[in-house]
């Protein structure tokens, strides 16, 4: 402590223990719900844990240790699951999260900047409207997006029909948004085909993602001092120059953590994938989380699922270390 008063050694011990009193309650709950399950997953990932072990007395299931078999099965694709290739899913998952964030952040910043223009009409209405995607529970929206991309009566194909009719095309558009397997741009991402389902999910997730970025950017924009812009315009800087030399650098500290958060949200985006495509067609839009869910919920291979969870853990760790390098998020301001 900064108060440099002489203390007896007993009081000193008490002082040293003090932080831990604050930590105990929260770590107790997180210990039970998050840290213990992590260790448990690690143990059963080396076993043949299946449904029968879950049903027969939970207290002491007799497990057979199978070594690294679960892991080998996942990596080599030896699981009796159709169209499963771990590295393709991994690559797709990274690309999916990255491509989403690269769209959401600029769009959010752009619209926040436009909405921050002085003298713009109806600002409040736009802000209230644009916050809706953050607010409406995602489970609800996912089903609606699935409808929109429906082959026959979906809004997207109807809209495209109107547009193509305008250019003289008479046939109605019948794009199989969620089920077509052949990628529209072959070889765009080597190793993992990006099907139409990927693009429809991008559109849906764009709807979900940019308003959040816009909210964060608006908050940061409002803390940029006005006089910076005034000084810049006295010096003759154009609006464009002001944007790139004042707005963008000053938004960076707020946008990078938000982008990292958005990356992890997209990386683990369960709702949309599960409801819109279910990972299909042919597992081309499967993410690590949806596959793990399938393993437990439908196939009930708990051992394999645990190995999968451990792999997800290490992937998350790598993501964390990389993003932490970028943001230095664990560094506190006083250090």
């Amino acid at each position: 402590m900064t108060l440099a008063i002489k203390k007896t050694s007993k009081a000193k011990i008490k002082r040293n223990l003090l932080p831990y009193y604050y930590l105990v309650p929260a770590f107790l709950i997180m210990g039970v719900i998050t840290f213990y399950p992590l260790i448990y997953q690690l143990i059963i990932s080396f076993t043949n844990f299946e449904t029968q072990h879950l049903l027969l007395g939970l207290k002491s299931p007799e497990l057979k240790f199978v070594g690294l078999k679960n892991y080998m099965d996942i990596f080599t694709g030896a699981l009796p699951v159709e169209n499963f290739n771990f590295f393709r899913v991994l690559e797709f998952n990274f690309w999916w999260a990255l491509s989403n964030v690269m769209l959401h952040v600029p769009a959010g910043v752009l619209i926040a900047t436009v909405l921050n223009t002085e003298g713009l009409w109806l600002k409040k209405i736009y802000r209230a409207l644009y916050i809706l995607p953050v607010v409406v529970p995602p489970i609800v929206v996912a089903t609606v997006w699935r409808n929109i991309f429906d082959e026959q009566y979906g809004a997207m194909n109807q809209f495209l029909t109107i547009v193509t009719a305008f250019f003289g095309q008479t046939d109605p558009v019948r794009l199989r948004w969620l089920t077509e397997f052949n990628p529209p741009i072959p070889g765009f991402l080597p190793g993992a085909p990006l099907t139409l389902a990927y693009y429809s999910m991008m559109i849906a997730n764009f709807w979900l993602g940019w308003p959040f970025m816009s909210v964060v950017a608006t908050g940061a924009l409002q803390s940029i001092p006005r006089d910076l812009y005034e000084a810049a315009s006295i010096d003759g800087a154009t609006g464009n120059q002001q944007f790139w030399n004042i707005t963008v650098p000053l938004l960076r500290p707020a946008m990078i953590p938000a982008a990292v958060y958005g990356f992890t949200l997209s990386f683990n985006l369960f709702n949309f994938v599960f409801f819109m495509t279910g990972g299909g067609p042919a597992r081309s839009t499967e993410l690590l989380v949806t596959f793990a869910y399938n393993l437990v919920r439908n196939l009930r291979w708990f051992g394999v699922a645990a190995a999968f969870a451990v792999i997800i853990f290490f992937v998350a760790l790598v993501v964390l270390l990389i993003t932490n390098r970028i943001t230095r998020a664990t560094q506190s301001f006083s250090e």
């Binding site: 929260a26 709950i29 448990y40 009409w121 644009y130 609800v140 979906g154 793990a292 699922a305 997800i312």
Partner: protein, 285 residues
């Protein structure tokens, strides 16, 4: 910045309206389903407006939305679970966040990393062990089990948000209070807490939302119909519909709208605070 010229104003308004239409598209689609009385199952044609206007779906949903469970039971469960989870996440998280913001102690950095890691991990990855440990504690099928689980998953984000807020408050203010004779707890309650309140509110709101719309874990744990929440019932309705269930999609639409109303109202009230505070405390000055 100066006031903008009229042509630019007009162009901006048009662009923003287009964006607004894009934002409204799914919400409009949902409302159309909800008010359409002509639907027998899946919607089989595209329309902008309902074919037959009707409030029947709303009436049905407000009575018994899912199987024979009363709406008020679902709503009560949802609110009870998400409010309690948010409260626990804030209270316990606050004490932890405060310790991380104010004290130096061994394993501090490690603890921060562990927290961040749990924030990055998807809850779905914990399904099996959670199922087992909650069963062993005899809380798996109860609302209490859900509350603890959701609180634990919301906690990392809450702690992160609140820690930044506590750090932004100068230590000197607390020390001044300390010299004036205030104890640790007094100075926390009367000085630190009020200053950090906006961030705490945001953390609580996010925790509430996470618990309010979570259904994957809940659906795995639930056994009795008395402990089903709104989000789970929507999931259940969707599942039966995709497998050829006979319920009209209007139910789904109206339940979705009803479920969104409380959250939208809360957000509109808090919007000002949110706009200023939803920056993860990355005090961008």
């Amino acid at each position: 910045m100066r006031n903008i010229s009229f042509p630019r104003q007009l162009a901006t308004q048009i662009a923003l309206t287009v964006v607004g239409l894009f934002v409204m598209l799914p919400i409009w689609g949902m409302a159309r389903l909800a008010f359409d009385g002509s639907l027998k199952g899946r919607p089989t044609e595209f329309r902008w407006l309902p074919k037959v206007w009707s409030f029947d779906a709303f009436m049905q949903v407000l009575d018994k939305p899912y199987q024979s469970v009363d709406f008020h039971v679902l709503l009560r469960n949802s609110l009870l679970v998400s409010l309690s989870a948010a409260l626990i996440a804030i209270l316990l998280g606050m004490s932890l966040a405060y310790a991380f913001a104010r004290f130096r102690f061994p394993a501090r950095q490690g603890g921060l990393y562990a927290l961040l890691l749990t924030a990055v991990l998807p809850p779905v990855a914990f399904m099996t062990p959670l199922y087992i440990i909650l069963s062993l504690l005899h809380v798996r099928t109860t609302l209490l089990g859900l509350i603890i689980t959701y609180a634990a998953f919301a906690m990392p984000f809450c702690i992160w948000n609140m820690r930044a807020a506590f750090q932004a408050i100068p230590k000197e203010i607390e020390e001044a209070a300390f010299l004036d004779g205030a104890g640790d707890i007094t100075s926390f309650i009367f000085i630190t807490l009020p200053l950090a309140l906006p961030s705490i509110a945001v953390a609580g709101l996010i925790a509430f939302l996470m618990a309010y719309s979570e259904f994957t874990l809940g659906w795995l744990f639930v056994e009795k119909s008395e402990t089903v929440t709104l989000a789970m019932s929507i999931y259940a309705i969707v599942q039966t519909q995709y497998s050829g269930g006979a319920q009209p999609w209007s139910y789904l639409g109206s339940l979705a709208i009803i479920m969104s109303i409380p959250v939208v109202i809360i957000f509109l009230i808090f919007q000002r605070t949110l706009l200023e505070r939803m920056m993860f405390g990355s005090t961008a000055e």
